[in-house]
Symmetry: C2
Amino acid sequence: MNSTELFEQIRLKRSFLCVGLDTDLNRIPEFLLSKEDPIFEFNKAIIDATADFTVAYKPNLAFYELHGAAGWTSLQKTVKYIRTNHPNIFTIADAKRGDITNTSRMYARTFFNHLDFDAITLSPYMGHDTVAPFLTFEGKWVVVLSLTSNDSFEDFQMVKSSETGKHLYEEVLSKSVNWGNENNMMYVVGATRAEKLTSVRDIVPDHFLLIPGVGQQGGNLADVAKYGMNKKCGLLVNSSRGILYTDQSMRFASAARDKAMALQNEMEILLKNAGLI
Amino acid sequence: MNSTELFEQIRLKRSFLCVGLDTDLNRIPEFLLSKEDPIFEFNKAIIDATADFTVAYKPNLAFYELHGAAGWTSLQKTVKYIRTNHPNIFTIADAKRGDITNTSRMYARTFFNHLDFDAITLSPYMGHDTVAPFLTFEGKWVVVLSLTSNDSFEDFQMVKSSETGKHLYEEVLSKSVNWGNENNMMYVVGATRAEKLTSVRDIVPDHFLLIPGVGQQGGNLADVAKYGMNKKCGLLVNSSRGILYTDQSMRFASAARDKAMALQNEMEILLKNAGLI
């Protein structure tokens, strides 16, 4: 999928919602725990309930690795389920990997060939080497961390370069922007830093941004759209806990659908206001 | 295991060698491929052949994840095998994780409780949040990336702060040094940057350093010792490909033993010269 095709899906669904599949056995409805693969059962129900309002799914690897081999099987089944039943929905492995070339090549094969994700999140700390091997895969994407939504983002991302006057998160954008292009690279920019989207857009006007932190972490959707939207929308806004865990009964999927629809409704208005639909 | 106990193992074995278990099915002897779990069979033979000369083993997660659920099983069996048969050898999950608190907590449970590793490598890009959850586990360690051995380390690690005049890799050291202590934190510093170990030691004189890049990547062991050794040795020097893949015959393990012994011999001389044994 390229950026034009992704934008087409956004226009079709009137939504730029990404649902984070942070599936936690301690938070899913209890009646699912007796199933053979409760994580997959939960994901399947959430996916079918939210697919109408969603352009991307983003499983967070930590929640699957916690269950070892069984967790990897749940993850694999989940990606395959999306591919088979909702083939136009973009899939992101939230793995935040980053290693030397030789190792990055292994991760790329794992996430792009074996698991068949469209995209993977990467940490830029080790530089170009760690990203380049992923960019050789036709039709696949990397999502590089720039400005994250957590409290301690300032520790290093706000270090200002004495040479360029840019903060590290801006250095990441400006150094990496030519490693790939707007059809194979996105950036993570936290919704809790919406006002900084202006400086982000100065450097990467055309790239898609993956925006975590709306909802539970306090980010505001209207601000994200105001400062971050571009002519192809250019935004995937993620919500995880705010969609997944609002109901513990047999109605959990329908409750998730309501939450996803509410976000889609907000997004539709923002897309209309921007003249994109 | 604390730093004093680790130093005791170094004195006992006259070695500060860490063997990287980057087990690649394309490079292990062909006759192993017919076994039920070739990765585990290879690791077991390598571990038994090198344990006399080794104080740490470091499986690189990418090589296991490539094989999905089966790979996780091989990894789990490998760590358990080390724990059971060589209980005084330190184990490091080379995973380079780094995520928000909620997610880091999941990774910590995975690598420390379920897989029972002593340590995990972490990327510092997202700051204190990403490291803190790992430091609440008694007797466990984090190994934070500072200065890596790959070609593109300069992209971001050499960005100089306009506020402190320090490079980012030094900022990582000086900001994080008080997050934990010398009994639960180490740093990755590539052997290919041995001359920079002086500036590293100015900031973290007492911490252990995990040094990749000796051998295949061109780092020099004597330089590493010269600039990096402290009063508890303070070094774990990793070798992976240079030990694992020197022989493709039935004698592969014995060839690996010879390579490990050769490195141990060099290390023994360096430890003697430093008056540590």
